[in-house]
């Protein structure tokens, strides 16, 4: 389970997170909503180990490991996965090559044997079917000239292959049409089980129609200002964030 206590973080001179508290027990899916610029991506990236942000107070523990002590790759080896809001392009590096290197690095860490090219391809093909992706994706550069929707699908494909135990998805639903949204939700749901924790950052209630969250949190100005059941998302959709902020401003 993920446990974040009193997390304060800044970038440059600006304080972005101002005391975040969040607990996600194993097996639960939590949604994180909130206005633009409230710090959702910052939180997601700090969990994954981005060094641009300086944690000034608080702690992030996962399965009793102090995550803040680990490098990004060590966190990945512990099962942490971030589906990026803006997946980066890496020209000339094959998608399939990156993915195989990633999976085998993680397997090595866990003391499992590495997959050979054949076994790996079999696994990828199966997951690509689930994600309804064309095989031509495999040999394209990582995210190179992908459409916005293709990039998001690719993130979830990677997730289904790496099978993380803590998955953070940062606006993976943004920019998807309804069919793509269903596919992505399907991929995410395929991983849902009693051992996994997930954090879905989203602006839209519609994603939550397909991936039902156990808890919904609202982040505003660097703090969790409200947590509740899935009906909270519906309420937000109707009334907007102002309703919450005005109520909690003091």
């Amino acid at each position: 389970m993920l446990s974040i206590r009193n997390l304060h973080a800044r970038a440059d001179d600006m304080e972005i997170l101002k005391g975040v508290n969040l607990e996600i027990p194993a097996g639960e899916v939590h949604a994180l909503m909130g206005p633009n610029g409230s710090g959702k991506s910052t939180l997601a990236q700090i969990i994954a180990g981005r060094e641009d942000f300086k944690v000034t107070a608080g702690e992030v523990r996962y399965r009793d490991i102090d995550l803040l002590e680990l490098t990004p790759e060590q966190r990945a080896h512990e099962g942490v996965f971030l589906a990026f809001q803006y997946p980066v392009e890496i020209p000339g590096v094959n998608n399939v090559y990156l993915l195989k290197a990633a999976l085998n690095a993680q397997r090595r860490h866990r003391g499992e044997t590495e997959l050979d090219a054949f076994e790996f391809l079999q696994l990828v093909r199966e997951k690509m079917q689930l994600m309804q992706m064309d095989e031509s994706f495999l040999n394209r550069g990582v995210n190179e000239d992908f459409s916005g929707g293709e990039k998001k699908r690719n993130e979830v494909l990677q997730m289904t292959i790496l099978e993380p135990t803590l998955a953070v998805l940062d606006e993976t639903d943004s920019g998807l049409d309804i069919d793509a949204l269903k596919v992505v939700a399907n991929g995410v749901n395929s991983l849902r089980d009693a051992s996994r924790s997930m954090l879905l950052v989203t602006h839209y209630q519609r994603l939550l129609d397909y991936i039902e969250p156990d808890v919904v949190h609202v982040l505003a100005d660097g703090k969790i200002v409200r947590s509740g059941g899935k009906e909270l998302a519906l309420e937000l959709e109707e009334r907007g964030y102002d309703w919450l902020q005005s109520g909690n401003a003091a």
Partner: protein, 480 residues
């Protein structure tokens, strides 16, 4: 790079100086006509060769060193160089791999160099290298069966003087430039390849060459002639690090492709770049030029440059034949204090000639990396086409990348395209890979190799992998 760094670099290099062991057959430092006569005599050359050397030498005396482009360079003392030293005798060489520096062997391992070649590359006395000798002999027979002449330049001068006399200096005349002219006067050895009409060379002239590459000397000369409809692929150098006591290397390579012939020339250059302060590195000033003399001829240069303190080279194509094709694919890596000024010249003379330039420069540390390219379209070159893509990748913020494209077009039907990009190895890219569980070092390697892919895929298969490893080794510790 600051002036102070350069001064320090220069000062230290002089401390090390040029140390030449005096053996009976090694000439004392200095150059004059007697030295040239002596070289020619010692090699048993016919008179035409001596006369050609002397004409070059007399011309050289009238020349001044070129302006150093984007390079910072210490003056070279040409009278301080010994222009002939006999190859090391077997007694001076290691007897077996057990006597070779373990660090060197470790590098071979990282590069993935085949076991049977390691001894030869490490300079182990030849009769101890059973494997490679037998490999070489098999190759030699195969080539002879096909009618391909492939031998050292000295042998060619003695055994095929008519071919040498006919082609030597036709592409790079002895008056060409300061270093080429010096090379013409004093060159010691190199390779000669002749592929007769209609013959497709039965193998890559690479493995064989690598095994015999030891001791090529500082003034190397290579001539490759491909007759009508023939085809040859040649690989020079190797990924193994090369050390040499000679600081100055000034090689000349000439290629001639007749009608419908194709020459593919690949280079992997890994001369000692000096230590992280630039001490002891090699100056590599090379003149490489190919002429597509006949129609539909094709010459393709592929180079992976990771070594040398200073590299100055512009492999070029003269596209004389109608429909001829010139290509240049280059990866140049500079780290620490290395400097590279490299690029190509594509001279379009014939109709419908086309050229492609793909240049990838990678700089790390405090290194400077320049691409300098000329595309020239002469008045008669109807419908000439050129596409140039020059990309630079920077690692860290103390290095530099520069692009100097020169375009001269004298025919309005020409179509010339130039694209250039400069990017920093992205924190975003690194973080993305690391988030997936890939170590920082592996991530850098992956990103760099991706950047160079368009060039690597032009290399002969067996070398593509080694070249990738070479890049990884060259950039070890460049980030983080």
């Amino acid at each position: 790079m600051s002036n102070r760094d350069i001064e320090q670099l220069v000062a230290r290099q002089y401390e090390h100086g040029f140390v030449t062991e005096i053996e009976s057959v090694t000439l004392p430092p200095g150059i004059d006509e007697d030295v040239i006569r002596h070289i020619s005599n010692m090699k048993g050359e016919p008179d035409f060769m001596l006369q050609w050397r002397l004409r070059a030498y007399r011309h050289w005396l009238t020349m001044t060193e070129p302006d150093w482009a984007q390079l910072n360079i210490a003056p070279i003392d040409y009278q301080g160089i010994s222009y002939y030293s006999a190859p090391k005798s077997d007694e001076d060489r290691p007897k077996s791999l057990d006597e070779v520096d373990p660090k060197l062997l470790e590098t071979y391992d990282k590069l993935g160099i085949p076991l049977h070649e390691r001894a030869a590359l490490a300079g182990v006395a030849v009769d101890a290298v059973f494997d490679s000798v037998s490999v070489a002999t098999t190759f030699k027979e195969k080539l002879a069966d096909a009618g391909v002449i492939f031998c050292s330049f000295s042998e060619a001068v003695r055994n095929h003087p008519e071919l040498v006399e006919k082609h030597l200096g036709m592409v790079v005349p002895y008056t060409d430039n300061f270093f080429a002219t010096l090379n013409s006067a004093v060159f010691t050895d190199g390779s000669f390849v002749f592929v007769p009409k209609g013959v497709r060379c039965p193998m890559e002239l690479s493995t064989y060459f690598r095994i015999n590459a030891a001791n090529t000397g500082q003034f190397e000369r290579t001539l490759i002639v491909a007759e009508e409809g023939s085809h040859v692929s040649y690989l020079e150098g190797c990924t193994a690090p090369m050390r040499d006591e000679n600081q100055l290397h000034a090689a000349v390579v000439e290629l001639v492709a007749l009608d419908d012939a194709e020459i593919k020339y690949s280079t992997v250059q890994n001369w000692y770049p000096g230590d992280e302060n630039g001490v002891g590195g090699i100056y590599n000033f090379v003149t490489k030029r190919g002429e597509c003399r006949g129609k539909n001829a094709k010459i393709s240069w592929t180079q992976v440059e990771t070594g040398s303190a200073i590299t100055w080279k512009y492999p070029s194509c003269i596209l004389r034949g109608d429909n001829s094709v010139g290509e240049f694919y280059s990866v140049a890596v500079t780290n620490n204090l290395q400097q590279a000024d490299t690029g190509t010249k594509m001279i379009h003379i014939g109709r419908n000639t086309s050229s492609t330039i793909v240049s990838k420069g990678i700089s790390a540390g405090r290194a400077q990396n320049s691409y300098r390219g000329l595309v020239k379209v002469l008045p008669g070159a109807e419908y000439a086409r050129n596409h140039a893509q020059c990309d630079s990748l920077l690692m860290g913020d103390r290095c530099g990348a520069h692009t100097f494209p020169y375009i001269e077009v004298a025919n309005p039907t020409a179509k010339i395209e130039h694209e250039a990009t400069t990017s920093k190895i992205g924190e975003d890219q690194l973080f993305y890979c690391r988030q997936r569980g890939i170590s920082e070092e592996d991530a850098v390697n992956m990103i760099v190799n991706g950047f160079c892919k368009d060039v690597f895929r032009e290399l002969p298969m067996e070398f593509a992998v080694e070249a990738q490893n070479l890049l990884n080794v060259s950039l070890e510790g460049a980030v983080g």
